[in-house]
Amino acid sequence: MMRKVLIRLLNLVPVLAGISFLSFLLMRLSPGDFLSQMSLNPQVSPEIIAKLRSLYGLDQPLPVQYLKWVEALLRGEFGYSFSYHVKVSDLILSRVPNTLLLAVSSVILSWGLAIPLAIRGAMYPNGWIDRTLTGMSYLSIAIPSFFLAILGVLLAGETGWFPIGGASSPGVLGESSWSVFLDRLHHLILPALTLALGSIGVLYRLMKSSVMEVMGKPWMTAARARGLSSSYLRRRYLFRNAVNPLITIFGFELGGLLSGAAFTEMVYGWPGMGRLMLHAVMSQDLYLVMGGIMTGAVMLLLGNMIADAFLWFLDPRVREE
């Protein structure tokens, strides 16, 4: 067991090296760099840009830049952001808690709703509940998240029920922790709902078909024929057998925790990773983008590992292989 985990962890090294090299290559091969935006400004002469370029180390050959970056990475440093003149790790760490708060609450919402509803839907397929939910899940799959987010902002603007934008009210800092908590929750509801509604459809459909498949299995019929009650079967066997495909999805969701909410964050003005990274990509802030990509990649790989570990834990068939 420990050996397996170690091998998996060691396997991550070449994968991460590959991801980092390819991303670095793509960033550097795309036309221009962080300073190109200044090149069409009459107030900034090419001589100044050249000086800045050497100050930032952008005039060195690609392999040298990459190796320097890797060397810094091995020392645990992501480098400095060009536009902020601040350590990349500081920037990312300052945004991670907000993004995690949003992503985790949306995952709890969507999974907490989708799984019980899917089991219910599979029990009575084509009943009115299932038909309503199936229709809604099509909508949830079809509507892009940024559009749903705009609808949310409009709802907030028209009704005044929810704050628009940000993660807390300007005046609330410095008040009691209870009102700070309530204020955060108030700001969180709409973005978290938006994200959850976007993924609930897929989860519902997957879980429902998986449950129905398990229910049609010959061993289910056999168990029922031997007199085991439906509710006992449901509690003891159904869920554990049906949940396998969802665990793989769960792995991906873990991986996407930091990056999956980008559009929603943009529209709601949620101060998370999404906006930071979008601006970084658009301004070609090389080391900030690399820091973001590496964090995302590590999260994805770890997410998959955790999902595999769950499967191993839940499913004896996987263990025996």
């Binding site: 795309s30 036309p31 221009g32 760099d33 190109s36 935006q37 200044m38 090149s39 069409l40 400004n41 009459p42 107030q43 900034v44 002469s45 090419p46 100044i48 000086k51 800045l52 100050l55 930032y56 536009s83 902020y84 003149h85 601040v86 300052s94 945004r95 907000n98 940024f146 559009f147 705009i150 609808l151 902002v153 409009l154 907030a156 603007g157 028209e158 628009i164 934008g165 940000g166 993660a167 807390s168 300007p170 990056s259 964050e265 943009m266 529209v267 709601y268 003005g269 101060p271 998370g272 906006r275 930071l276 990274m277 979008l278 601006h279 990509v281 070609q284 973001g292 990509i293 995302g296």
Partner: protein
């Protein structure tokens, strides 16, 4: 990890769906905002939304508006620019004397100036700022280029604690305007210079209260991605000649909140819901905002034509890889003039700018009254005149298509940057205008950096639709208009001027920067505008009117052509507040 979808598509979808939704929702279902007057008006609060986080709090390193907008409240320079006409006014320096034929400018600082921490501000800070920061090769500042005259850095010295002398090797007329750069506190930043850590100093990780400035406000709080809060600087001394609003000190407001809301649509919804006092309106939002003005208690102010304009230019560069016969069209003055007559600027304004813009026929915006010169003829939309000119220039029409003397069909690739939906729309209008005179145009939208590479490095382009950062002093455009300039787009960095009129413009810009007498200086730049208007290396198109929605809670709004609706934040006051009934 982030997929950026085409912003043009997104904006179109969004504006369209918002129009439907808002027109559906705003019928009576939403409560109007009620205002209660404030008396006295002193000590008010202002809040507005900004699009992105500041990148740095260090004025020497700041290069984009998300930082400079905030720093503008916290710092000031020796001089400032009049928002009315672009002339130079005193700020930290109460007066100055020009001597030695324009080679020496002596600034006399106001006495009793203080930094926001109470420390005295004097000439030593000015010397530190210019000598140790802006002219320091180790500092990553884009300002240094401005402070080089005839290839040599400007010399700064102290006569006494309140008298600073700037010396140049040749007279340099735009010097006064360029010395508006922010002065930095020596007592705080000198250690960062001597330890070589200046490029990391005053980053956004710095405690906002440690940013010591000399502007009307100081920072009290910065929460990344959420808010920047400012409070009045108790040690602020207003510049000489700045009139306070009635019943107000300078500044009148006591605090400002800048909320960071990254999405323009969310900002719009927030403003309509009563959040924030100022909102910069883009032309396609006018139809949403106009009907809501009464309910949401705001007024739309227009400051008139601004500095940003768009133009068409043609590749005349012999070093470029484009076909020689095509370059021959672009070098022909008559051809360029024909293009100028073909463009329907009125259509551009009504389609692209929703009627909120002005046609532009020359390189200086009419709002820069200190330098604008009216030139004739005015290139109105006249396709017949354009066709006549083209035929005079040796072209001929066959079944509605234009051919040159050697039989090449006139087909042109028009390049523009794809990030700007407005420019993409303008390109389509140009395409159809030129088709009317028989010219077939293919529009290619490129991502900004690709465009810059094509135009500046490989010279692989034919016709370009673009806009440059506007400036008030014409000398700021020297890089564009001098034949040796790096942004002389149609033929950059010429060894010697290719055309006689280019040589003439070169000498005018030379004279313009040496002439210290404003009236004589204007004459020089008038001549330049006449040549530019006649030769048309750039065909100027339109400029948008700056429109700002201002909540009726604010007073002291003074729309000005160059400073927007709030040319000086100190004059603004809060005359009412919103009451929630």
């Amino acid at each position: 990890m982030i997929v950026s979808f085409p912003s043009f598509f997104q904006r179109t979808v969004v504006v369209f769906s918002m129009a439907i939704l808002l027109s559906g929702c705003s019928r009576g279902s939403v409560a109007s905002l009620h205002l209660a007057p404030r008396n006295p008006v002193t000590g008010g609060h202002l809040s507005m939304d900004i699009l992105s986080d500041p990148k740095t709090f260090n004025p020497a390193l700041a290069s984009e508006t998300s930082s400079t907008q905030i720093l503008g409240y916290l710092f000031r320079g020796l001089t400032r620019e009049s928002p009315e006409d672009g002339s130079v006014k005193p700020d930290l320096a109460e007066k100055w004397r020009i001597s030695d034929g324009g080679r020496r400018v002596t600034f006399f600082l106001s006495r009793n100036l203080k930094w926001s921490d109470g420390a005295p501000l004097d000439g030593r800070d000015v010397l530190f700022t210019y000598r140790d920061v802006y002219n320091n090769p180790k500092v990553a500042t884009p300002i240094r280029g401005l402070l080089t005259v005839a290839g040599k850095p400007i010399q700064v010295s102290l006569k006494d604690d309140y008298t600073v002398v700037f010396e140049t090797s040749v007279p340099f007329a735009p010097l006064l305007e360029e010395l508006g750069a922010e002065i930095l506190p020596r007592h705080i930043l000198a250690p960062a210079i001597s330890s070589g850590k200046f490029n990391q100093a005053w980053s956004i990780r710095e405690n906002p209260r440690n940013i010591v400035g000399d502007g009307p406000f100081m920072m009290t709080r910065y929460v990344p991605g959420q808010i920047v809060s400012l409070a009045v600087n108790p040690h602020y001394t207003p510049p000489p000649g700045l009139e306070p609003s009635p019943g107000c000190p300078l500044p009148c407001l006591s605090s400002i909140d800048l909320r960071i809301v990254g999405d323009a649509n969310s900002q719009l919804v927030r403003f309509l819901a009563g959040k924030g006092d100022l909102y910069g309106v883009s032309p396609n939002e006018m139809s949403l905002l106009k009907p809501a003005a009464k309910r949401a208690a705001f007024t739309l102010f227009t400051r008139g034509p601004g500095l940003s304009e768009s133009f068409l230019t043609f590749n005349q560069n012999p070093r470029s890889p484009i076909a020689a016969y095509k370059r021959a069209w672009f070098v022909s003055r008559k051809f360029r003039e024909a293009i100028a007559w073909s463009i329907d600027r009125k259509a551009m304004i009504s389609i692209v700018l929703n009627g909120m813009g002005e046609p532009i026929y020359g390189p200086v915006s009419p709002s820069v009254r200190a330098f604008y010169h009216q030139t004739y003829p005015i290139y109105r939309h006249d396709p017949q005149k354009a066709r006549d000119l083209l035929i005079k220039a040796g072209f001929h029409l066959e079944r509605g298509r234009l051919f040159d003397a050697s039989g090449h069909a006139v087909e042109i690739v028009l390049l523009t940057n794809v990030e700007s939906p407005q420019r993409m729309l303008m390109a389509q209008i140009i395409q159809s205008n030129l088709l009317d005179v028989g010219i077939k145009v293919r529009v290619v939208g490129l991502q900004f950096n690709m465009l810059a590479t094509n135009v500046m490095t490989s010279f692989n382009w034919e016709m370009l639709l673009f806009g440059l950062t506007g400036v008030t002093d014409p000398h700021g455009d020297a890089a564009v208009w001098k034949s040796s300039g790096f942004l002389h787009l149609w033929n950059p960095r010429e060894k010697k001027p290719q055309e006689p009129w280019e040589a003439e413009i070169d000498s005018l810009f030379e004279q313009g920067s040496l002439e210290m007498n404003p009236a004589k200086r204007k004459k020089i730049y008038d001549k330049w505008q006449e040549i530019a208007h006649h030769e048309l290396p750039m065909v100027d198109l339109v400029t948008p009117d700056g429109i700002t929605a201002v909540r009726k809670t604010l007073g002291g709004i003074r729309p000005s052509p160059l400073g927007g609706v709030v040319p000086h934040i100190t004059q603004v006051f809060q005359k009412a507040r919103i009451v929630h009934s």
